[in-house]
């Protein structure tokens, strides 16, 4: 067991470093590595990875708080959807067949690689033209953020609250079921559906990740899906790795690392789907 603890610690450090460099949560790399690499039951892999999501989210929030990008109202309002989704997701894990989880996770990896490809081609931030939205005004969701490049306060409005709320429920469901932070889905709900600018969207999503993960993590904790010998070294490893990652990130050609990583995600996704269908190599 001591051997395992040390190896898992190393896995956590690597996942933390890559997660920080690639701008993705550790969760998406951890579950494939733990299941495909270590033969761990996917239920325990999910439990361990949700702990790592909390560690990275709570560790990173302070940076965004300083940046004055966060929209606390949007976060809290949408957390109603994500936490309910996360709890339902965590409960579903006990009901659905593990193979279904493998296929779902594999599809998610394929989606993430596509998302990463899309990010590579992404250009400048465009401020969407938004019609005044009654619900957004009523809920006081409109706000402003400080743009470092333009050196000015940029006001923004949001719209399509029901759409964003629904996508957030899905994001919470995915988070609880698969043990991931589901950051890209959260950003998508705010940025694509609610037309919130990308920078406050990312900052708000990062805050929401921790609260969402906590909702399903308590379910996992009490029903025994969080193995101490796996979750603990993983969490510590990810914390150390993420700190190292953010330090060395500015000195790395992150674009090239992403390009290298896209096929790796595709490969892992394929492997997970194959495993789900019972095909082994």
């Amino acid at each position: 067991m001591l051997h395992t603890v040390l190896i898992i610690l190393g896995v956590g450090i690597l996942a933390g470093i890559f997660g920080a460099i690639l701008g993705i949560g550790g969760g998406i790399i951890l579950t494939p590595v733990l299941t495909l690499g270590f033969g761990l039951d996917i239920k325990y892999a999910i439990g361990a990875s949700i702990i790592s999501v909390i560690a990275t989210s709570s560790g990173a929030t302070i940076a965004y708080v300083k940046d004055d990008l966060l929209n606390l109202r949007v976060a809290m309002f949408l957390e109603i959807a994500t936490t309910v989704g996360a709890i339902i997701g965590a409960l579903l894990v006990g009901v659905v067949h593990p193979n279904f989880l493998y296929v779902l996770f594999g599809s998610l990896l394929l989606f993430s690689s596509w998302n990463m490809y899309r990010k590579l081609r992404q250009g400048q931030e465009v401020l969407h033209k938004v019609k005044p939205d009654r619900l957004a005004q009523k809920l006081r969701l409109n706000s402003s953020y400080y743009d470092k490049n333009k050196k000015q306060q940029v006001p923004y409005q949001v719209e399509n609250i029901p759409g964003g709320f629904s996508v957030m429920f899905g994001a919470g469901l995915a988070s609880g079921m698969l043990g991931i932070g589901s950051g890209p889905f959260k950003v998508m709900a705010m940025d694509t559906f609610m037309k919130m600018p990308l920078k406050p969207s990312s900052a708000t999503s990062n805050l929401m990740m921790g609260v969402t993960a906590a909702a399903s993590a308590t379910v996992y904790f009490f029903n025994g899906s969080i193995l101490p010998q796996i979750a603990a070294p993983l969490a510590i490893g990810v914390l150390v790795g993420a700190t190292l990652g953010t330090r060395i990130m500015p000195h790395l050609p992150s674009k090239w690392i992403r390009i290298i990583f896209i096929p790796l995600l595709l490969y892992l996704g394929g492997q997970m789907i194959f495993k789900g269908f019972g095909v082994t190599f």
Binding site: I87, V211, A217, T218, P228, A232, I236
Partner: protein, 129 residues
């Protein structure tokens, strides 16, 4: 609301958010230290304190185990602390909205807290078939 008031609330809000950030960091650090203590004890003694693959998930057993310095019990306490840090953030946010006299958001944030507590209860009852 007069512009002066608005600016003041904004400043107050920024201050509260900074405090929230600090609380979160302390929560993470304290939990991480507890987890590390448990891990070190596990590595040094080579024993988890429990037979085969067992580990405590309920508070009674966890605290009993900590009293006997069982590594797995200490680790589980640290992991639970880590899970609680975002919950703590929600609690502090309720306080922030109360200070701002924003009743709507006191209500919304309280709802989030209640959902989190519901998750805990559901997990504790272990309603899995």
């Amino acid at each position: 609301m007069r512009p002066d008031d608005k600016q003041q609330t904004q400043q107050e809000m920024a201050k509260v958010e900074q405090i929230i950030g600090v609380i979160l960091q302390i929560g993470v650090i304290v939990s991480a230290i507890i987890i590390c203590c448990g891990l070190l004890l596990l590595l040094v003694t080579g024993k988890s304190g429990y037979s085969s693959n067992h580990f405590p998930t309920h508070f009674g057993l966890i605290f009993q185990g900590i009293a006997q310095l069982k590594p797995f019990a200490i680790i589980m306490l640290g992991l639970f602390g880590l899970i609680l840090t975002p919950v703590l953030r929600v609690v502090v946010s309720i306080y922030a909205f109360i200070k701002e006299h924003d009743q709507l958001y006191v209500l919304i944030t309280t709802a989030v807290l209640l959902i989190l507590i519901l998750g805990m209860v559901l997990g504790y009852l272990n309603i899995w078939p």
